[in-house]
């Protein structure tokens, strides 16, 4: 009963710090998830339709369940959730449909001290329960965004790199395209110039498949003004790759990033980030620019905790300040949370 022993011990430690253990609804309306994440996530939902054609799913993720619970039942103020329960996803034969999730979330407070509080809580609790030394890896994904803003790139390329930062494989492909300019199409604009002048004469508010003519023409003009051929793609790709290789003790992170700024003649505006001042209880804290890239909804601080000797991931989490609104909250509700990698804990 290793599983029960660990989960009870961890939840008790969370409770002592003011977290309330909650159980969430098993079924959620699929629309909420699909509207937020698009079709890609729909594929992993275990869904069914009711008699009225409304689509429902088994809960796919307990952070989302906690957010939905807050929107429905708590509505305002700070709420500290702790949970240990099951989430359900289609896995296409690779893993189990049912996954155990143990985690904690603090919803409704932007107090920066909570960043350290939640990391310390998870890290210290893990240490007490599993009795192994841990290493913490920290990152703030806004530093990457700041890097992208500082590079000489067309605005649409900036957006593209930011939007796909969390999709590791596709991001690599993007960087390769940037490096080789392989999607450069010099003649492409010429082909549509005739249509452009014709469309200039039409009513500009007329809609064509959901878009106004003036929107189409404005974007066309913008593309002409910002040709991709002006980018030194190879240089930009190298800077991004080098940036994503930065891995150093957290206490040296600011110095390392400053060196990086000087070397590449860029300005990361480091003074706006508080990640360097996190007060962590664990002395083995590293800063790594390449972590926290698997979850789309993180907005700034991200962390991962590893078993020191085996480099085995034990927990991960981060701040997600925009998720609540995309799930239906009427105003911005900030939040931070983390989940224990329960399957790995059981392997110890």
């Amino acid at each position: 009963m290793k599983s029960k022993k660990y989960s009870e011990a961890l939840l008790n430690l969370f409770k002592k710090k003011g977290f309330k253990v909650k159980e969430f609804e098993n079924i959620i309306e699929s629309k909420i998830i699909i509207e937020r994440s698009g079709e890609i996530f729909k594929k992993s939902l275990l869904s069914f339709e009711d008699d009225n054609g409304k689509n429902f799913s088994l809960r796919p993720d307990l952070t989302i369940s906690a957010c939905l619970d807050y929107i429905k039942n708590v509505k305002r103020g700070i709420y500290k959730y702790a949970y240990f329960d099951q989430a359900y996803r289609r896995t296409f034969g690779k893993e189990s449909l049912v996954r155990n999730q143990l985690g904690c979330e603090i919803i409704g407070s932007s107090n920066l001290q909570l960043n350290a509080e939640i990391i310390n809580l998870i890290d210290q609790s893990l240490k007490k329960v599993i009795k192994y030394k841990t290493t913490i890896k920290i990152n703030d994904i806004n530093i990457f965004y700041s890097l992208v803003d500082s590079l000489k790139l067309p605005s649409r390329w900036r957006l593209r790199l930011k939007r796909h930062f969390w999709r590791n494989d596709y991001f690599k492909e993007l960087i390769m395209r940037l490096e080789t300019n392989s999607d450069l199409q010099k003649n492409v604009f010429e082909l549509d110039k005739r249509s452009y002048f014709k469309m200039k004469k039409l009513k500009q508010n007329e809609m064509i498949a959901g878009r106004k003519i003036n929107e189409i023409l404005n974007r066309f003009e913008k593309k002409i003004k910002e040709p991709r051929s002006n980018i030194n793609g190879a240089r930009v790709a190298k800077i991004i790759r080098d940036f994503l290789n930065i891995n150093c003790p957290l206490k040296n992170a600011k110095i390392e990033l400053k060196k990086f700024e000087i070397k590449n003649q860029i300005n990361l505006k480091l003074n706006q980030f508080d990640v360097f001042d996190l007060k962590l209880k664990n002395n083995n804290a590293m800063f790594s620019t390449n972590i926290g890239r698997s979850v789309e909804y993180y907005t700034s601080l991200v962390f991962e905790i590893y078993k020191k000797s085996k480099n085995l991931n034990l927990a991960s989490g981060g701040r997600y300040d925009n998720l609540m609104q995309t799930l239906g909250a009427k105003t911005k509700v900030v939040a931070i949370g983390g989940a224990i990698n329960y399957d790995n804990i059981l392997k110890l």
Partner: protein, 231 residues
């Protein structure tokens, strides 16, 4: 006694005509009655020919109620992984050529590539007017393709036919559809994206993997395939 092997052939259109031609060319005579969906190859071992919808042939091969059949490669690849794993592609045939492509309204002159489309999808999201809608008969292939190209912010609208008119009847903004000459696209004021080729398809000779595990059936299937030399 039940017929030893069941052969699935498309029940209508050019796929049916071309499939029958293959058997005829190789001196295998199949009696075709327009109203009867069952027939047989007269001059061959115990068999039954079942005329079915091409999509259904794929499913029946997977559950082994058919042993061998002709259908579209697009339909096979669109089916779920659990279905595909039960079917072996014996050969691609020399007819039924078509491409599954991404098509956008001709007037979207600012959109040339999937990367452009991805930006447009975020415009829809940011303006809070819902997701970019993609009408298709091929949701699985479309999802896989878009994911591989970085497009995530869209919504599938399942279509059963006349997909090309969806963007102009407010049912979707773009489509993915099968095209062979591009004429239908052009007639409906749509154009294919340069890097929007999802799949090159043609008719295929397919075999149920379960049938290949049955020694007697396997022998008959291979004998039949040996006779069908000319594709």
């Amino acid at each position: 006694m039940s017929k030893l092997i069941r052969i699935g052939l498309p029940s209508k259109g050019r796929l049916k005509e071309e499939s029958l031609k293959i058997f005829k060319k190789n001196n295998l005579s199949i009696k075709d009655s327009k109203r009867n969906y069952l027939s047989e190859i007269k001059n061959f071992s115990l068999n039954e020919v079942v005329f079915s919808h091409a999509r259904e042939i794929v499913e029946r091969l997977a559950d082994n109620s058919l042993d061998i059949g002709i259908s579209g490669y697009d339909l096979l690849k669109e089916s779920l992984p659990g279905i595909q794993k039960n079917i072996q592609v014996f050969s691609r045939l020399n007819f039924g050529f078509a491409n599954l492509i991404v098509a956008i309204p001709d007037a979207w002159i600012d959109v040339q590539t999937i990367a452009d489309l991805e930006e447009i999808s975020f415009e829809f999201k940011d303006k809070n007017i819902g997701k970019l809608r993609v009408a298709t008969k091929y949701p699985n292939l479309t999802n896989d393709f878009f994911l591989s190209k970085g497009l995530t912010q869209y919504k599938i609208v399942n279509s059963l036919g006349s997909t090309e008119i969806y963007p102009f009847t407010s049912q979707s903004e773009i489509v993915t559809d099968i095209t062979s000459t591009g004429k239908t696209l052009k007639a409906n004021k749509l154009r294919a994206l340069k890097d929007g080729n999802i799949l090159k398809s043609s008719a295929c000779m397919l075999i149920s993997k379960k049938s290949l595990k049955n020694k007697q059936k396997k022998e008959i299937i291979l004998k039949l395939l040996k006779k069908i030399k000319k594709f």
